[in-house]
């Protein structure tokens, strides 16, 4: 990966912190911002874009267009639920049109992927980290199992970023 490529890594945190566990995306973004500003990966701060999103497709497409790696962090509603359970989906340019990503947002990630594929605006690599939500009702604060998953998830996203920046030999699979 060249220096120019490094500026093409973007992490998109999707969600609304006033809808309880839907705030996991912004929460992970905040943790990443703190880590990249002060932690051992501080050098990566200038090469990784952190984007907060409400999940609206056009904004997501604008955020990841031209990216070599886009990591999306979002909450999902599962039935039956297992709050805090983590999922990882990797979606390449060539298989985006058949992707079935999930999202807690009415018009969201799945539409963004479909629209980006139709417009030829998929990133080279798209990785979705999703957390099963326990409560997406009105209110602030993550439920305990989702809050407990935030640290694990932040670490997983960091590994994706490091791999893309060439600081690790292997991208997680």
């Amino acid at each position: 990966m060249t220096a120019a490529d490094r500026s093409r890594v973007v992490v998109i945190g999707v969600g609304n912190e006033f809808r309880r566990d839907d705030g996991i995306g912004p929460e992970v973004l905040m943790r990443l911002r703190e880590h990249l500003a002060t932690g051992p990966d501080a050098a990566a701060e200038t090469t990784v874009r952190l984007v907060c999103s409400d999940g609206e497709p056009a904004s997501m497409i604008e955020a990841w267009t031209g990216a070599s790696l886009a990591v999306v962090v979002d909450a999902v509603v599962a039935d039956p639920p297992s709050p805090g359970r983590l999922h990882r989906f990797a979606i390449g340019r060539d298989d985006a049109s058949g992707a079935q990503a999930v999202s807690s947002h009415g018009l969201g990630l799945r539409d963004a992927i479909g629209l980006a594929a139709a417009l030829g605006r998929m990133p080279e690599h798209l990785v979705v980290h999703a957390v099963e939500a326990g409560d997406v009702g009105h209110g602030v604060g993550l439920t305990p199992p989702v809050l407990a998953a935030a640290a694990t998830l932040t670490g997983a996203v960091l590994r994706e970023v490091r791999a893309a920046l060439g600081q690790s030999r292997e991208r997680p699979r």
Partner: protein
């Protein structure tokens, strides 16, 4: 099944952050007996959540109510609290506030026109299918949003939930050099916006006229965006402070949202693009006025299906206004005026992309919010939408359930992007009497 005299169309919406909705239509003996639009909206939660908070917090907190129009919530909140504190913004800061709001209008309207509404007119199930066949058209919509987002990032700090807005102005005022690059992008956007009007003006529109009383802001000499007094097509004229005397909210059993009506009136009222345009078209800037004329719009528009044309004209208006404001921008001496709290109540109104958005805050002498009231355009328009659906369905009872439901969804999309989004996910159940 066609030509049945008794039928029920019920559509339940999927949760959505900005707004949630469902539709229910019952037909008996060949007549529409009942139309209900059930909206579950978040502002009531925020009203309770704001109580006990500092007077400085509502702009940031209420911006989270809607991902599509955070600037509208920030602006109405700021105006209400500034009124309570007895301060008003000097010209340059007021201009910056209008400039930021222009960005939101462009972004929100472009989203609705290109992603949500246009596919209805062109026979596509959604924007993805439209993009597969007409990539350049969808890219034009995204280019408009890109220009809008650039504007909101420079003035608002970021495009989603702007962080640079504070009571009394902004945390940091952009320099003229910050704004200069935006002008070039917006000049290109102006051409794209005019092309958008020409494109949507060529759609086929159902013959449909609504006779609701229209309610919008008026800002004499300017098309109303970020402030103004309220006027109606029925002759009402009142300031924001009298909003709750004229707009009465009532609980209805099928919805968590309050339904609004105008006091003393026996017909519903409508706020939003049609109302704004009909009550203020004489103050459109020149390019927007020319685009409206070329599109065949008269001085008023009462066909909700043509709201897509009005929104496109308002994109031109917002781009034109943004260019004017950038051209005349003078960096303010201070990025904000100090607002010292006092025990008082303030009221604020602005024109969110979907219509009039009202906020009221009661502060104590320490600047703590004692009570808050938020009346979004969604709840104001519910009765009008349901009324239009009743007439619309009655005229189309010969359609099968599936095309009739699709037509109803399209009719709902005429009014509100949040409900529009939810209706993309509706499932329909038909009960045969």
């Amino acid at each position: 099944m066609t030509h049945r005299s008794d039928r029920t169309l019920a559509a339940a919406g999927l949760a959505r952050v900005e707004g949630e909705g469902a539709m229910y239509v019952r037909v008996g003996d060949g007549r529409v007996e009942e139309v209900r639009l059930d909206i579950y909206e978040p502002p009531r939660f925020f009203e309770a959540f704001l109580a006990g908070r500092s007077y400085t917090e509502p702009p940031d907190i209420t911006a989270r109510i809607c991902g599509i129009c955070p600037v509208a919530y920030q602006t109405s909140a700021c105006q209400a609290i500034e009124e309570a504190c007895g301060v008003s913004l000097p010209g340059p800061l007021a201009d910056l506030r209008r400039l930021l709001y222009c960005g939101e209008w462009i972004s929100s309207h472009a989203l609705h026109v290109y992603m949500l509404h246009a596919p209805d007119f062109l026979g596509y199930p959604g924007a993805i299918e439209l993009a597969r066949d007409h990539r350049e058209i969808v890219e034009r919509g995204l280019s408009l949003r890109r220009a809008a987002n650039a504007l909101m990032e420079v003035v608002g700090g970021r495009s989603v939930h702007p962080v640079n807005v504070r009571i009394g102005g902004f945390y940091r005022a952009p320099s003229a050099a910050d704004l200069a690059p935006l002008a070039g992008q917006l000049r290109q956007a102006l051409d794209l916006a005019v092309d958008t009007v020409r494109w949507v003006a060529g759609f086929d529109f159902p013959d449909f006229t609504c006779d609701h009383e229209l309610l919008a802001l008026r800002q004499p000499g300017r098309y109303p965006i970020e402030r103004g007094t309220l006027v109606s097509s029925g002759g009402l004229a009142f300031p924001a402070a009298e909003f709750e005397q004229h707009v009465i909210e009532e609980q209805v059993p099928h919805s968590t949202a309050l339904h609004a009506r105008l006091a003393g009136r026996d017909r519903s009222y409508l706020t939003g693009p049609l109302a704004r345009y009909t009550l203020n078209s004489q103050w459109l800037p020149s390019a927007a006025a020319a685009a409206a004329r070329e599109a065949g719009l008269g001085p008023g528009c009462r066909n909700p299906f043509q709201s897509i044309v009005v929104r496109a004209v308002e994109i031109v208006c917002a781009v034109e206004e943004a260019l004017r404001l950038i051209d005349g921008y003078q960096e303010p001496a201070s990025s904000f005026v100090a607002a010292v709290p006092r025990a008082a109540t303030g009221h604020g109104v602005s024109e969110a992309p979907r219509g009039v958005l009202y906020h009221r805050y009661e502060l104590d002498q320490d600047g703590i919010v004692r009570s808050a009231r938020i009346v979004p355009p969604t709840s104001q328009n519910q009765a009008a939408i349901a009324g239009d659906l009743r007439g619309f369905v009655q005229d189309r009872l010969d359609l099968d359930d599936e095309p009739l439901t699709r037509a109803c969804e399209q009719a709902i999309r005429n009014y509100d992007p949040c409900i529009s989004c939810a209706t993309h996910f509706l499932t329909v159940h038909v009960d045969r009497a």
